[in-house]
Symmetry: C2
Subunit: 249 residues, 2 copies
DNA sequence: CGCGTTTTTGAAGCCCCTCAAGTGTAGTGG
DNA sequence: CCACTACACTTGAGGGGCTTCAAAAACGCG
């Protein structure tokens, strides 16, 4: 995945799931060519919008969230480069939640017709979309377990492990650090906690020498210990490296 | 959906999404003919199992859950008649969680090859599977919001609303009551609460005259009030009646 | 009936929230 | 370069919601 020969991170990600031919790489790359820069904290698709294009995050962090009547927010998903808003657009007619940027992003927009064309022309694209969709669902389940059954320290630790491992899988980790420009409020909205409490937990983890989140970068000092605290097992991410480890050693 | 002319609830459910021809109804019906009775509290597919057949719940309640190292459990999904374990089996090679019965169930088992055959032969089956998968994902998100950002009363109320509406959509509601034979511990595992607290919340809702859960049946006295308390908006269930209301009513 | 499980209720405690104030930090304009 | 502003981070004090522990009552089933 850290192979820089791929034109973009989406191509690299799909290729790691199912090897693509030169033709397929080119098709996918050209589908992404109309990408634009989006500032942080912008809604890309709102709840209730009619489903239209497929959005692919090429750079930056995005999320999906739902607002509650009380004004509180729950983030249900964090999108990293290579992630996309999946097949809602292909099957369901209305968005169930809102998709928004968290940091400045580079976003490719692939019109619905173009997606249908790609999926119809090459079976590997259909399978890749299904695969991404299912991996996504497993991540959602892991979040559900996190919020439902873990205390605040475990929750934060688990999310940090996940984001670190996912970031690493798309080449965003260098020197044990990952660019992660999320506010405490945003982390709280993803974890079912308040910003204040997230702050306290981060201090605890920092003082324990396990990790540090400062100035928009996550420095990971002891992934093993953090994973142990959180009960983190990354197999739900279905990363090719993980599955290789599972199969061959 | 309460049309009794369909051979089974799966056929009825898929037909409500996309009208099926007589041939397609027959194909689907025969795929389900090898169904078996499974007692309550039996694992159907365990975490780490290789993915094999597609399970369809024809009668009873089932769930998916994950166990934590501490011995606690989080239920991520409750399956009603017509629900199935979706496409994990088609794309991912290993189960991420465990699927189990909650009550005695009638379960159809469709071998992977048979599913692939059906999907390849009729485009409507492929679309139906995708559709069911996406509806499921929206339910998962709604649960995540529930557990992450609502208090115990809202949480219980929301789940009761969801199960009542879903049950109604597959013809399980009669005279404002739904067979719902779940223990407080099981409800707690779905809601991120303890059984003790679920009990207290149920009493509160009972004393308020909103609903009652006794002897394995849910009696719904005031769905509107309950939905209002919970902030329940059933559009995430993508039920045909709801979408009809949205479009024409 | 007798036994195991579930439900119910009480008491005590802790985890996380709320409220509040103080401390950075980045961006803007004088 | 420094005020000024806005926002995020930090820390403290207090409260409440849910948990834990415990035990009695009710239920289901042989």
């Amino acid at each position: 995945m850290d192979d820089v020969s791929f034109p973009n991170v989406l191509v690299a990600k799909i290729n790691s799931f199912a090897p693509l031919s030169a033709v397929e790489i080119d098709l996918l790359d050209r589908a992404c060519e109309h990408a634009r820069e989006v500032p942080a904290h912008q809604d890309l698709l709102r709840e209730g919008d009619e489903t239209g294009s497929l959005f692919v995050i090429l750079r930056g962090l995005a999320c999906r969230y739902k607002m509650l009547p009380e004004g509180t927010r729950q983030i249900t998903e964090i999108l990293m480069p290579g992630d996309c808003c999946h097949m809602h657009i292909m099957v369901l007619d209305v968005m169930d939640d809102t998709m928004a940027t968290l940091t400045p992003c580079r976003v490719a927009t692939i019109p619905r017709a173009r997606v249908e064309e790609l999926v119809a022309s090459r079976a590997v694209f259909a399978r890749s979309l299904s695969w991404a969709q299912l991996v996504n669902q497993d991540i959602l389940k892991a979040w559900m377990v996190n919020v439902g059954r873990r205390n605040s320290v475990q929750r934060v630790a688990h999310l940090m492990c996940e984001l670190y491992v996912r970031g690493n899988s798309v080449g965003l980790v260098a020197d044990r650090s990952l660019s992660l420009d999320l506010s405490h409020a945003e982390l709280g909205d993803a974890l079912g906690l308040t910003a204040v409490h997230v702050c306290r937990v981060l201090r605890k983890l920092r003082l324990a020498g396990l990790m540090q989140l400062r100035a928009g970068t996550l420095m990971m000092y002891d992934l093993g210990a953090l994973a142990s605290i959180a009960g983190f097992d990354g197999s739900y991410l279905h990363l090719p490296s993980a599955s290789r480890q599972r199969r061959y050693g």
